[in-house]
């Protein structure tokens, strides 16, 4: 299962990472080298073995979504890149999706 340049561009788009052509090409080689080592797992007999979902004795417990918000030591405006009237500001959404990249 070799990774191609198209694969790298596709997963970079999914991960919202912009890559130069040179970097994308070098990542093809890097990921293939790493994934070659992973192929050893395909030879392991795992029939009847449940995949681990949570490593603790209690699986993956959820805490109750209740209680007051945790007080913050400083206002969001002090660390947010851009805020107005209590809202985080982002660029216009009309340019959010390129239909081709999203397909």
């Amino acid at each position: 299962m070799a990774v191609t340049l198209d694969d790298v561009r596709h997963i970079a788009a999914l991960a919202r990472l912009g890559l130069s052509d040179d970097r994308a090409r070098s990542l093809v080689a890097e990921l293939n080298t790493i994934l070659q080592h992973m192929d050893v797992l395909s030879k392991v007999d795992t029939s009847g073995i449940e995949a681990v979902e949570g490593i603790g004795a209690a699986g993956l417990p959820l805490r109750p979504d209740e209680g007051p918000p945790i007080p913050l030591a400083r206002e969001r405006e002090t660390f947010a890149p851009s805020m107005r009237d209590g809202f985080f500001l982002v660029p216009r959404l009309s340019t959010h999706e390129d239909p081709e990249a999203a397909s």
């Binding site: 299962m1 990774v3 694969d7 790298v8 596709h10 997963i11 999914l14 991960a15 919202r16 990472l17 912009g18 890559l19 990542l27 890097e30 990921l31 080298t33 790493i34 994934l35 080592h37 992973m38 050893v40 797992l41 395909s42 392991v44 795992t46 073995i49 449940e50 995949a51 681990v52 949570g54 490593i55 603790g56 004795a57 209690a58 993956l60 417990p61 959820l62 805490r63 945790i70 007080p71 913050l72 030591a73 400083r74 206002e75 969001r76 002090t78 660390f79 947010a80 890149p81 851009s82 982002v90 660029p91 216009r92 959404l93 009309s94 340019t95 959010h96 999706e97 390129d98 990249a101």
Partner: protein
């Protein structure tokens, strides 16, 4: 304060310093200043060893004065006046939390991590934040966006990683206790490279609230100590249930320092053959076997055991951890905190911010994780890795069920390597070969110095069953006593 006073303070264990502070013989402020002065003297900052990233002397002084007032009220705390250093991925309101990354450069958290709160509540004084591999992805602290850290024992070599700055801080005598974090060995491996003690608690033993997430099914806050006793005191302070972290466990927290008096008679210690392969450096094998002989002489029974899926651990780890990281690091998008770079619309902003903010190793792992989770590859990689992980966890369960109380292994296959020595990512990943199994199985483990090879420290590793850290500490105290201080940094 004279240099002699500072030297005297530096020579005290955490418990001794705490007692001297409680008795009024040492002021918390002197202890904090001694720590920061020593950091400057040895060149711990970015233009030197680069093991520390941030300090705030005014805040350290305020914390120290608060501890002094508490002492006068008779409420000094179990770590009264003990200076501590935290890895740069543990949220603190008084110092930046940048995870060794440009994407969070200058970010100061609006809340303290639970472990930071617990340290402060116990009277500890947080004096600095330490350098680390970016987002804890690395085994050498060379992946920091703020430059590589150097091993204070051998500055041409790495301190290990990803918590290399914290390990090096303890080794250099800046503090007796420091916190790091573990995902695949990031406390134990640098502890071994720097000649200090490093503990990875059971998954769930310590709250991760405020630990910036890397791989959530593996991450755990860990403790460095100059000695086993320092580490025991540190772990006891931060361990225990936290309602803010649903994965933290309601298990009672024993007084780990009581384990110092424990006997090893009747304790069965397994020597897993997979951790002693034929190509292991014979000098490291000899150090481990000499330690096992010491443990035997103290009454332990040493038994050869097998953990047959060990050879698959690196492959499993480097699928599971990047997969979880690709999800966890999606939050760094330039919207709520950290770096923002403008691009073409919202998507362009995301891509520009993340491409510029993340370094090469983080980018590689996000892409690897996205790939193994993507349609068509999920079953072959991620699901398969989670199944093999179950087999690795079963290996540990079987061996502990057979009557073995502890395992003893080398912590790392080699001592600290030279800066720049490992350019191939997979070769670097192999540094975690003896440590990542404990993270995959969720069991506790610790490294302690067991000697030197070519003047460089060698770490020996104890691994225990879930929530049995006390047993691990008992053996570590006993071994440390026999080996003496010479094995330490």
């Amino acid at each position: 304060m004279t240099p002699n006073d500072r030297a005297a303070i530096g020579a005290l264990s955490a418990a001794e310093l705490r007692d001297r502070v409680a008795a009024g013989d040492v002021s918390p402020r002197s202890a904090a200043e001694a720590s920061l002065d020593r950091a400057s003297e040895i060149g711990a900052w970015r233009d030197g060893l680069n093991i520390l990233l941030y300090e705030n002397r005014d805040d350290a002084r305020r914390q120290a004065e608060d501890v002094a007032r508490r002492r006068e009220r008779g409420d000094a705390g179990s770590l009264a006046g003990v200076p501590v250093i935290l890895k740069d991925n543990i949220a603190t309101t008084s110092l930046p939390t940048s995870c060794g990354s440009r994407i969070l450069e200058g970010y100061v958290s609006p809340y303290d991590a639970t472990v930071a709160q617990r340290l402060r509540a116990a009277g500890a004084v947080i004096v600095a934040k330490s350098n680390m591999d970016e987002f804890a992805m690395g085994s050498s602290t060379e992946n920091s966006a703020f430059g590589p850290a150097k091993n204070p024992l051998a500055p041409a070599r790495v301190p290990g990683g990803s918590s290399g700055g914290s390990a090096a801080s303890v080794a250099a005598g800046l503090v007796r206790i420091a916190l790091g974090s573990e995902t695949g060995g990031s406390v134990r491996q640098p502890a071994a490279f720097c000649g200090v003690v490093g503990v990875k608690p059971t998954y769930g033993r310590v709250s991760r609230y405020g630990l910036v997430a890397f791989a959530s099914s593996l991450d755990q806050v860990g403790v460095f100590g100059r000695s086993v006793d320092d580490a025991a005191l540190g772990l006891h302070t931060i361990a225990g249930l936290d309602p803010l972290d649903s994965t933290s466990a309601a298990e009672p927290v024993p007084m780990y320092r009581d384990a110092a008096r424990g006997s090893l008679t009747g304790v069965v210690i397994g020597r897993p053959k997979e951790y002693f392969p034929d190509d292991l450096d014979p000098r490291i094998r000899d150090k481990c076997d000499a330690s096992l002989a010491v443990l035997e002489s103290l009454g332990a029974e040493v038994r050869e055991v097998t953990l047959p899926h060990t050879h698959l651990a690196i492959e499993v780890y480097y699928i599971v951890a990047p997969a979880e990281a690709s999800s966890n690091l999606a939050r760094f998008d330039g919207v709520r905190y950290g770096l923002r770079l403008e691009g073409d619309g919202l998507r362009g902003m995301y891509e520009a911010t993340r491409s510029s903010g993340f370094g090469p190793e983080v980018t590689r792992r996000i892409l690897l994780g996205t790939y193994v989770l993507s349609a068509g590859y999920y079953d072959a990689y991620y699901r398969k890795a989670q199944q093999v992980r179950a087999l690795i966890a079963r290996d540990f369960a079987d061996v502990f069920k057979s009557g073995v109380h502890l395992l003893f292994t080398p912590t790392t296959p080699t001592p600290a390597f030279e800066l720049g020595a490992k350019s191939d990512p997979y070769e670097m990943y192999l540094s975690d070969i003896f440590t990542c199994t404990a993270n995959l199985a969720g069991v506790p483990a610790m490294s302690l110095p067991i000697g030197r090879v070519d003047g460089l420290p060698v770490g020996g590793q104890f691994i225990a069953n879930h929530f049995d850290e006390r047993q691990m500490f008992a053996a570590a105290y006993a071994l440390e006593r026999q080996l003496g201080a010479g094995a330490h940094a």
